[in-house]
Subunit: 551 residues, 2 copies
């Protein structure tokens, strides 16, 4: 027995500790390259920890999505990323090697740069573009809209920006703008970068370069060491105060300083006050709370107990409720109270907000099971935020341009859900997922679920074909890198709204009765056979996660 | 025994049924006059039922206040009413006869004219002046503001107008305007009539002449046979619709037709939409309900359970919330949500309205004991009404002219509650009563209680000296027939707010503690010795009806 044990030990040792020659393929390529084939080690440019190098403009690779990295290797091979160093390297790798080296870096704990770039011309501009974009004037969504609230990266399509070398980020923006980098989904980044000035590119690159990254159990957190909740990262992103952003004004406004009557924006729409003009004091704090709830409805501690799915207010009300033709909240403020046929009563904005919780955010499946009370902190904060957004808008102006989603006509040839399915795969699945389940990162919702148990329910306004078509036509994809036709928008709406979703909270227990009582009209498919599979819409169980139930 | 009975009968008969010669004095003068002294019977001109006579322009006397009638006899004697027929008659009456004949007519059931005058040039103008006045432009309160919601007459100072002969009413308005009638309290009617055109006089006279009167257990009801509740009379007075008022427009607006941006009124203040432009449909009905609750808060079935005193919204917010410098509600709409030190929170307009119920309308003594819920019909209706009043006002404009009560400075020499007491007796007691208890008629509040158990409580804004002074200075007496100085207003405010009123609902059980926690500053007398009698204000029991408790 002793003899036997002694004999076995080396075998066990041999299996559990491979010799250096058997370093895994990815690690070997990363740290040693393959000198025999003239392949350099990645680490020679990207650093031993894969954190990139400011001096030579190399990227941080550690912690990036493996699919993203594999795709970039392909882009280098194909010339969609023009890079004389990377192309020959990429051309030499076998498919297995591409996967292996990508897997290696994806699994590395991300460590960002520690040097602060000195060439940022205007920190305020960088912060604004990163966190808020320039949506009304240039249709520029914020960077964090897709790359995650900390710039931590989201899935295969939206790489991590936080802690990338400044020089790398600036080079990439320049490359997008000049057309020497492409291959991004829907040409989004080419579109965005081409709208930025050089100063803006430098500023926004500096913003993300300065975000330290640290590995946490939940993922990559923003540079906020005392904030442990992932949601707190976004919550800690208030409008930069004038002093911290370098704006010229020394004056910090209070509520009584807000000017009445506002100039329209460059598109002729009402222009809400700048985030930089948020008043100080308790009212300003309530406005900030309202904005935080509006943008993080399903994770914010005040509102989360009333959200039963994966949606936030800002999913439909883009640019945090500011954007014309995306149901801007300044238009809602001046439009209520009003009678609505849907509720068959006069709704106040309070009851409208409660309705959003009941339907669009499916409160019936939330922790509390109900929308927030009319005098709850959540409602008071949302009202304060929305009221402030409407500063200067004329009370009662229900025809204010840009209100709601600005309906588009149904095409003469109607609409086709199956054609919509193809369009969806091509254009929408990148963000919303092939099964419409949306994308979350670090338990923060990034892209909303469009159907299934975590989407809006059958009582929400968005389930009406005309409403969703208008939203899609005006607002999708974010930033408008491609323009959908009216026909596209109707087809997509029909596809999305032919899928199962949570039950209408007014459900009487009988589908036909519920359909008769609360639904109807040519743009409401509830209770009718799905054009996709013929099952009666509304019959799917709310717990179904995989789209429509076969019927 | 039988003999005795027979003997007694004539005696009993004699006492209980006086001979015709012993008709009561008042009745005799009214129906027979005193031929021996050349005094004609009143009925020869005023009709056998005292209902007046259109052909000769004599007044309806039946049902008028006896004090009012006695005062008119004196006015005829003294020439304050120039009348060649009435003067010699009045001069002949002894003091006892004046009382007797006045008592006789006051006790008669009022019966109005049945003839409809044909000379009313514009019914819409008459209705408007009678029910709403022309407050913003000419400081003309409505007639019913003082004469009661049916024109039924209120106390000794405001005679019945309903069912008076048209010719009589027109003659009186003309006499006020020309100065041939005077003797009215504070010169109110002279002031009002001098601002009316001849057409307006004819129109408003026609309005009241056409109001039939009928005796009911509750008093005199408006011509609304199927409305039995006294409160329903006022409730049944909606804004006349364009078709019924003879306005030129055939177009009945709905909510989406309300023009945004409104021209200011002739004083430069924001001008809310005309009552004639109220939208149709369910929203318009909700606006109408809100206006009804606003103007009849303590009697309307929706709101009455939350009113613990004798106040209505319109008591402080004059002209049904429309009047600048009387806390107009259009200014309130655009000013909330906002932080308030009083509540140490961000108040929405909903919580402000609830605060009015808690403090100004003393909900703690109401049937429910609490203000209406945030999503109650009362609040939704009030919000709808207020929102509509603000049509076109710029959201967030907290400096909109006329907002609140437009503070006035404390006079350099301070203020004096005892001087205020004298001013009060001279100017205010006419309407608000010598003990500040206000005036009700047919259980409808006409003039609000200013102190005592049915007034606003110690938590209401009006208990602050500067607030009440500003209200008084800008708005009292109604119509502005006399102009108070800043000093007058401060003295009156000090007098009124040195009186006892219902306890602050935030009362902790300890006066000093409550004062320390919720009160203070030089304009808040709560917890300090009353300048009138030295007792500590706030110590009076809420049930005290007779002003401050001796201490």
């Amino acid at each position: 027995m002793n003899q036997l044990k002694r004999l076995m030990l080396p075998v066990v040792f041999c299996c559990s500790m491979p010799a250096q020659a058997e370093t895994p393929l990815g690690q070997r390529l990363a740290t040693q390259g393959d000198p025999n084939r003239g392949i350099p080690a990645c680490s020679s440019c990207h650093g031993p920890e894969g954190s990139g190098n400011e001096a030579i403009g190399s990227a941080r690779l550690a912690g990036q999505s493996t699919l993203y990295l594999q795709r970039q290797i392909e882009n280098f091979r194909d010339g969609r990323r023009a890079n004389p160093l990377m192309r020959p390297w990429a051309e030499q790798l076998t498919p297995a090697e591409r996967v292996a080296v990508s897997d290696y870096y994806a699994a590395l704990a991300p460590v960002g740069q520690t040097t602060t770039p000195t060439s940022a011309p205007n920190p305020a501009i960088g912060t604004d573009l990163a966190l808020f974009g320039d949506w009304p004037d240039r249709k520029l969504p914020s960077c964090i809209q897709c790359h995650g609230p900390s710039g931590q990266g989201v899935g295969a399509n939206f790489p991590a920006l936080a802690g990338q070398p400044y020089s790398y980020l600036l080079n990439q923006l320049t490359a997008w703008a000049q057309g020497t980098r492409s291959g991004d989904p829907l040409g989004m980044m080419q579109h965005v970068a081409s709208r930025l000035t050089e100063d803006e590119m430098r500023s926004v690159a500096a913003y993300f370069a300065a975000q330290l990254v640290a590995s946490t159990p939940e993922g990559i957190a923003l540079n906020a060491p005392d904030e442990t909740s992932p949601g707190a990262a976004l919550e800690s992103l208030p409008a930069p105060s004038p002093t911290s952003t370098g704006l010229q004004s020394e004056h910090i406004p209070n509520q009584d300083d807000i000017p009445a009557g506002r100039a329209p924006d460059t598109q002729g729409y009402f222009k809400p006050p700048s985030r930089h003009d948020r008043p100080e004091g308790p009212f300003g704090e309530m406005v900030a709370l309202g904005e935080a709830i509006f943008t993080q409805t399903d994770t914010h501690p005040e509102s989360a107990p009333h959200v039963g799915n994966g949606l936030t207010c800002r999913n439909c009300h883009l640019d945090a409720g500011r954007l014309a033709n995306a149901a801007p909240m300044w238009a809602a403020w001046v439009s209520y109270p009003a009678y609505r046929a849907k509720s068959n009563r006069v709704d106040t904005l309070t009851s409208r907000l409660q309705g959003c919780f009941s339907y669009s955010m499916n409160a019936q499946d939330s922790v509390s099971g109900i929308p927030p009370d009319a005098d709850s902190k959540t409602i008071v904060a949302l009202l304060s935020y929305v009221y402030w957004l409407a500063t200067g808008a004329p009370t009662g102006d229900r025809s204010i341009p840009g209100r709601g989603f600005s309906d588009i006509e149904e095409p003469a040839e109607g609409y086709d859900a199956k054609r919509g399915a193809t369009l969806y795969r091509q254009n929408c699945a990148i963000c919303h997922g092939a099964r419409g389940a949306g994308t979350r990162k670090d338990d923060i919702p990034i892209f909303p679920p469009l159907w299934g148990p975590k989407s809006y329910n059958w009582g929400a306004g968005m389930h009406a074909l005309n409403t969703a078509a208008a939203f899609i036509r005006h607002n999708m994809p974010l930033g408008g890198s491609i323009e959908l036709t009216d026909q596209d928008a109707w087809d997509l709406s029909a596809f999305i709204n032919s899928q199962e979703r949570p039950q209408d909270p007014r459900f009487t227990g009988d589908l036909a009765e519920t359909a008769q009582r609360y639904h109807g009209g040519r743009y409401d498919l509830y209770g009718t056979p799905s054009p996709l599979d013929g099952h009666r819409l509304g019959e799917g169980t709310p717990a179904t996660t995989s789209g429509p139930r076969p019927h």
